[in-house]
Amino acid sequence: MIVSRKYSISAQGILFLFTVLPLIGGFGYALLYSVGLTGVLKTGFTFNHWKQVFANGNILSSFGYSALIAFAAIIISVAMSMYTALKLHRFLEKDLLSYLIYIPLAFPGIVAAFFVFQLFTKSGIVSRVFYKIGLINDIQSFPDLVNDRYGIGIITAFTLLIFPFFVLLFTNIIKNERLEEYKLAASTLSATPAQVLWRVSLPLLLRRALPNILLYFIFIFGAFEVPLLLGRSNPEMVSVLAVRKLQRFDLLDLPQGYAVAVLYSLASLLVIYFLFKAKNRADEK
């Protein structure tokens, strides 16, 4: 490597300044605030705010709800994109589709949420189509698909956002890992189409895509804009809960908001740590 010692130290300094320092600073401040050691409500060390956070049960339902939403969106997107990539990978490499598939990637979360809202709200596009073809008689007959209890709108928006990414990812894996050759070899060795799918294609695609799948799980788990627009106040996703508590005028909510932020950060850091361990183990094999 051509770099000098001075260069190396400067680079590590920049890395520390932009990654470690904000992380320690932000996490440390949130932790100290949540136990009453800093901030306008400084009372001396106490676990009261943490007890309050767990007492009303909001945090557990919020974490569970976020995990379920992320899990559902990931399962649907991965299944759909894997099917699409396996069927259309040749066209996705060079056809017009190879350009069109990039269009949904240009959608930020807020626009995807707005689009899904316009599609599925009671006066939305789908409701109007249903009315025209006689499936519903009035606007109230259309089911709640946004701001709904089951997070259908949120899951749809996330699926819209991540489906094209996974289609491209699986198409690349199929090409780079020479999946077609493996499939051909398995067929030659008298494997049935079902065996080729379950024993060759799916394990290979899932193993290679696992780090990205986990990363997207974390992204959805902590997403803010989409649940803010398409979610409801109870249950609400983690980021929305934390920001609601931290941005409200009631100062007494601040330590609880920071406690939620600390818990979320710890959960994310743990997932990333295990992801790295699994990745390193896979690299060593």
């Binding site: 589709l97 807020i110 596009i125």
Partner: protein, 257 residues
């Protein structure tokens, strides 16, 4: 039969890709859209005229978004390039990479509320510089992660060869490494531009409502239940990314792999 199914799937996928931006663009020409009409009686460009009036500050928000995204993309790509080389060849590469991943994967809005105190203390809250700095905390680690893949054994061999042939470190840097990294630098620049261009939560918290980007405008119109203006702002928001992704795919992507 198999070909026919593939053909149907291709058409469905193409429709799924094309229809959403077309609907948003079409809605920006609506004025009144009563239920249960599928399309309004008349279309007009009133929203387009109204939204660009100076008092609505949409053009200002586009300009602000551009300034922030260009600054974040330039600084992240440059810093990422310089630091990734050290990370890639460091004996604790895995540990450094793990540290680099952490700020990138945390929810930006939660990260922002935790860092808000420091931005207030530094006098950066509600300022353009503050928003740029805050977005750098997310975009720079991403740039470093992507660039780390560039510094592989092949690049190390090139450097050793050049040194053996008598090239100075400065010469190797300017005549070998930078030209070879240029396509990837452009990819990273585009990706960081998009990270910044799409950012909402962090900009909302650190910008404190004073730094109005286009994403904040979309949310403002949604809050006012002004769906036609929101559709227009959304169309403006997705246009640059579509162009950038197309350039990325057509001219750069193939050169980097």
């Amino acid at each position: 039969m198999k070909n026919r199914n593939h053909h149907i799937l291709k058409i469905v996928l193409a429709i799924l890709c094309i229809v959403p931006p077309c609907i948003l663009l079409l809605m920006s020409f609506f004025e009144v859209w009563p239920f249960p009409q599928l399309l309004p009686d008349r279309f007009n460009a009133k929203a387009w005229g109204y939204i660009f009036q100076p008092e609505n500050r949409v053009s200002t928000s586009i300009f602000t978004s551009l300034i922030i995204a260009l600054s974040v993309a330039c600084i992240s790509a440059l810093l990422g390039f310089f630091t990734s080389m050290v990370v890639a060849y460091h004996k604790y590469k895995k540990g450094l990479l793990l540290l680099t991943y952490l700020p990138f994967v945390l929810s930006p809005v939660i990260f922002a509320v935790c860092l808000k105190y420091y931005f207030i203390k530094m006098g950066l809250i509600g300022t353009l510089y503050g928003v740029i700095l805050a977005q750098l905390i997310i975009a720079y680690p991403y740039a470093t992660i992507v660039f780390t893949g560039f510094w592989n054994n092949r690049m190390l061999d090139f450097q050793k060869l050049a040194l053996t042939l008598g090239a100075t470190p400065g010469y190797i840097f300017s005549k070998l490494l930078v030209p070879m990294a240029l396509p990837m630098m452009l990819v990273v620049f585009f990706q960081c531009f998009l990270i910044s261009w799409f950012e909402y939560g962090l900009t909302l918290i650190i910008g404190f409502g004073k730094v109005e980007t286009l994403t904040l405008k979309v949310f403002q119109y949604l809050g006012e239940a002004n769906i036609f203006y929101a559709a227009l702002s959304s169309s403006l928001l997705i246009l640059p990314p579509i162009i950038l992704l197309w350039i990325n795919k057509k001219f750069i992507y193939n050169k980097t792999i």
